[in-house]
C-alpha cells in the first residue's frame, strides 16, 4: 500500500472502530436496562449463618438471567472488535507517516482510546468489572468522534525536536498511564455515585443498583491508579526530563507542559496519601483522583491549544 492508501485505510479503520464501539455501547445499554434493581433484602449467608460479603457486581452475578448476561457478552465481544480496528487505525497511521503515531492531538486521542480500552479489557480478564463496559465504550465513542471531527490533520513526518527515541519511550509510557488514569477516573466517578446512594440508602435503585458496593469500586479504582502512578512517574519525571535535557539543554524548566505534568503527579500522590489518611478515605480520595485526571486533561487539551511552550507537537 502507498502512504496515501495507508492514511485512508487508517481513517476508515478509526471510523469503523467508532461505529463498533457504539454498537458495544448499545449492547451494554440493553444489558443495563434489562438488569433489574438489586432486591434490597438479598443477603448471602454462609454455612455458619454469618452474613457473607455479596459476590460483588450485580452485573456478572451468577444468578442473573441468561439473556441479560448475553447482552453483556455481546458488548465485550464488540469492544474487542472495536479495539482491533482502533489499533489497526493507529498502526496504519504510523506506517503512513513512517513514525510513531502520536505526533499530534488527533493521533494522541486515537492512541489514548486504544490504551484506555486495552486497560479495561486486561483488567476485565482478572476482575468482574463488566459494570465499566458502558462508561468505557461511551467515552471512547465520544473521544473518537471528537478526534475525527475536530482534530484530524494529514499524516506528516515529525519536526526535528521530536526525532529521538525518547519520544517512543516517553510518550508510550504517558499513553499507558493515561489509559489507566482514564479507567481510574471512570471508576472514581462511579464510586462517588454508588457511595452517595449507599449513604442515602438508595443504592438499590437507578444507576447505582447496576454497580457493585462502593468498597469494591474503591479497591478497583485504587488498583488501576496504583498501576498508572508509577508509569506516569516514569513518563513524566524520568523519561520526559531525560529527553528534555537532550532537546532543550535542561531536564526541568517549568515549561507549561511540565508544570501540568507535575500537578497531575502531585494530585495522584495526594490521592494515594488520602487513602491512608483518616477522614480522607473514600470520598475525599476519589475527588483527588478526579482532580488528577482533570489536570491530565487540561495538560492535553488546554496547554496544547492555548499554552504554547516548547512542546512543539502542541497545537493540532
Amino acid at each position: 500500500m502507498t502512504r496515501l492508501q495507508l492514511a485512508q485505510f487508517s481513517n476508515q479503520a478509526i471510523m469503523f472502530a467508532a461505529i463498533v464501539y457504539a454498537l458495544a455501547m448499545l449492547a451494554h445499554i440493553v444489558e443495563w436496562a434489562a438488569t433489574r434493581s438489586t432486591a434490597p433484602g438479598r443477603i448471602l449467608v454462609g454455612p455458619d449463618g454469618a452474613e457473607l460479603p455479596s459476590a460483588g457486581s450485580d452485573l456478572g452475578g451468577a444468578e442473573r438471567p441468561y439473556r441479560v448476561d448475553l447482552w453483556g457478552r455481546y458488548g465485550i465481544a464488540l469492544t474487542m472488535v472495536g479495539l482491533l480496528l482502533n489499533a489497526a487505525g493507529v498502526l496504519a497511521r504510523g506506517l503512513a507517516a513512517d513514525r510513531v503515531p502520536w505526533g499530534n492531538m488527533y493521533e494522541f486521542t486515537i492512541t489514548g482510546c486504544v490504551a484506555t480500552v486495552l486497560t479495561y479489557l486486561i483488567m476485565l480478564r482478572f476482575q468482574p468489572i463488566r459494570w465499566l463496559g458502558l462508561p468505557v465504550t461511551a467515552l471512547v465513542v465520544v473521544l473518537l468522534m471528537l478526534a475525527v471531527l475536530l482534530l484530524d490533520v494529514p499524516a506528516a513526518p515529525l519536526v526535528p525536536a521530536l526525532h529521538s527515541y525518547w519520544l517512543y519511550i516517553h510518550v508510550t509510557a504517558a499513553m499507558l498511564a493515561t489509559g489507566s488514569f482514564t479507567v481510574g477516573a471512570l471508576a472514581s466517578v462511579l464510586f462517588l455515585v454508588r457511595n452517595r446512594a449507599e449513604r442515602r440508602g438508595t443504592a438499590g435503585t437507578g444507576i447505582s443498583a447496576r454497580l457493585p458496593e462502593a468498597d469494591v469500586i474503591d479497591t478497583f479504582a485504587y488498583r488501576v491508579h496504583a498501576f498508572g502512578f508509577p508509569v506516569w512517574t516514569f513518563a513524566a519525571l524520568i523519561a520526559g526530563p531525560i529527553w528534555a535535557r537532550y532537546a532543550w539543554g535542561r531536564y526541568w524548566g517549568w515549561d507549561p507542559k511540565e508544570v501540568w505534568a507535575f500537578v497531575t503527579w502531585v494530585a495522584y500522590a495526594a490521592y494515594l496519601h488520602a487513602r491512608a489518611t483518616a477522614g480522607w478515605r473514600g470520598k475525599g480520595a476519589a475527588i483527588l483522583a478526579l482532580v488528577g485526571f482533570a489536570a491530565l486533561l487540561y495538560n492535553f487539551v488546554g496547554i496544547n491549544l492555548w499554552g504554547g511552550g516548547l512542546h512543539s507537537y502542541a497545537g493540532k
Binding site: R250, P256, V259
Partner: protein, 529 residues
Amino acid sequence: MTDLAEAPLDSRPPEPEQTPRALSPVELARWAWRQLTSMRTALMLLMLLGLAVIPGSMVPQTRVDPNAVANWQLLHPDLTPLFKRIGLFQVYGTPWFSAVYILLMVSLIGCILPRTRVYWRAALAAPPKAPKNLARLPASLTSTLDVEAADLASRARAQLIRQRFRTRVEEDSDGTIVVSAQRGYLREAGNLIFHISVALVLVAFAVGNLFGFRGGAIVVDGQTFTNDVQSYDDFAPGTLFRDSQLEPFSFTLKDFSVKFLTSGPAMGQASSFTGNLAYKADPKASERDATIQVNHPLAIGNTNVFLIGNGYAPVVTVRGGDGEVVYSGPTVFLPENASYASVGVIKAPDAKPTQLGFEGEFLPTYATGQDGQPVSAFPDLAAPALSLTAYSGDLGLGSGVPQSVYSLNKSKLTPFTDASGKPVTLTIGLGQTKKLPNGAGSITFDSVKRYARLQISSTPGEPLALGSVILGLLGLVGSLYIRPRRIWLRIRRTSTGSQVELAGLDRREGRDLNHDLTKFLDTLTKATR
C-alpha cells in the same frame, strides 16, 4: 482489629491529637512537630504544592521566556506592578513558593527519620506473636489432621519458608505449638526509599540551580565562540557559580545546514538541522571535529552545547555618502514564523554625512502576499531578498545606555522618503546594491549565512537527580505492589493427631486471603498423607 494487626510493619505516623491540652512550651513544640509531620499535614502540603506551581503556567516566566514576559507586560500595564510585587513572573523563586516546598521538605524529613527507626526495629524483629483468638481475624480456618503436632508444625514451617515467609515457632506450656509467619517486609522499605529519594531529587535540583550556569549564544557560520562571559548574549549563573569556573574551550562553527521537506502535506517543515564544529577543550588542546544536532548536544568537559534554534544572517555592505565602507558583515535576523521571514536591524554609526540605520525583514524566498506586502513563501533560500526601511540621523549609541542589536532607537532618526513623502522601502535581491536618496550612501546585499542559536550550560547534580528518581521509582513499585501478609497456625495435640487453627491478615486490601489459606491447608494436608 487487634493491636497486633496495626503494629510494626506499618510505620505510618500516628494521628496527632487535635488540640494541645497542656500548654507548656515543650509540649506545645512537640504537638506542633507532630502536626507538621502528620499524614494530614503532608496531604495538605502536597495539595498546596500542586496549587503553587500553577500560576507559573498561566503567566509567562522570566526564566523560561523573557520575551514573552516583556510582551505580556506591554499588554497588561495595569496588572504588571501587582504581579511583579507577588513575584508572578518568577513563581519558582518566590518566598511563598519556597515556603511551601521547604515546609514539605521539613515535614518529609521529620516523617522519614522516625519511620526509618520504627521500620529498622520491625525489620529485625521476628514475626509478631499470634493474637489470642485467631477466629476473630478476617480470614481463618480450622481442621483436624492425623499427624503428630510437632511434625505438622515443622511441615507447615517449611511450607511457609518456601513461600518466602519469615517464621517463628513457639510451644506454649500446655504443649500447643504456634507458628507465626510474616512476609512483605520490603513494602515499607520501598515506601521509605521512595520518600528519601523525593528529598534527594530536591537536593539535586537545588545543587544544579546554585552551582550551574546557563547561557545563550548565536554563532554564525564560520565564526568562533570562546567560552567566556563576554561571548554570551545572555548569561544566567547560579547563585554560587563563579565566572572563573567556565571551562576554557572554544569552537568554530564550520558549517550549519538545514533540510526542509519539499513536498507532502508538511512541505516547508524542517526535517533536520546539523552543525559541524571544530573544538578545542582548552587553548592548548588539539582541535577535534564534532557534529551537533537537535537532541544531540556536544559535551565538552562538564559543559554541554545544545542546538536550540537557527536562522539567517544576511551579509551586507553599507557605504556612506563619500563611498567609504562603513559597515560590512553578517547581521543576525530573528525568524518570525515557520517560513523564516526574519526581522533585524543594521546600524552604521560611522557613516558620513549622517549616521545610517536600517530596519526590516529578510525573506529567504521572496514573494508578494495578498495585501501587497512582501512575504516568505518557503523557509529555504530560493529567492532571498531584504526589505528594509532606511533612516538617517542620530542612532543614539553615544548616550551610554546599552542598546539592543535587534532594535533601532528612532527618537532622533528620520526615514528617507520618496517624492510623495512616504518612507521608502528598499527591496534588495541577492547581489544587488541600492542607492539611498540624496546621495546619502548605498547598501549591498552580498550573501547569506546561517547561524545556530546555542545554549551552553552546566548542571551539576544531574547524576544525583537521575539516580534518585530511578531509586524512587523502584521504591515506589515495591511500596505499591508488595503486599505484606501475616499467617498464624495454632496446633493442638489431640488423641488422634492434631487440631490446627489457621488464620491470616493482609496489610493491603484486595487479595483473596481466604482462598490462599484454603490452598495452604490443602497442600499441607496432602503433604502429610
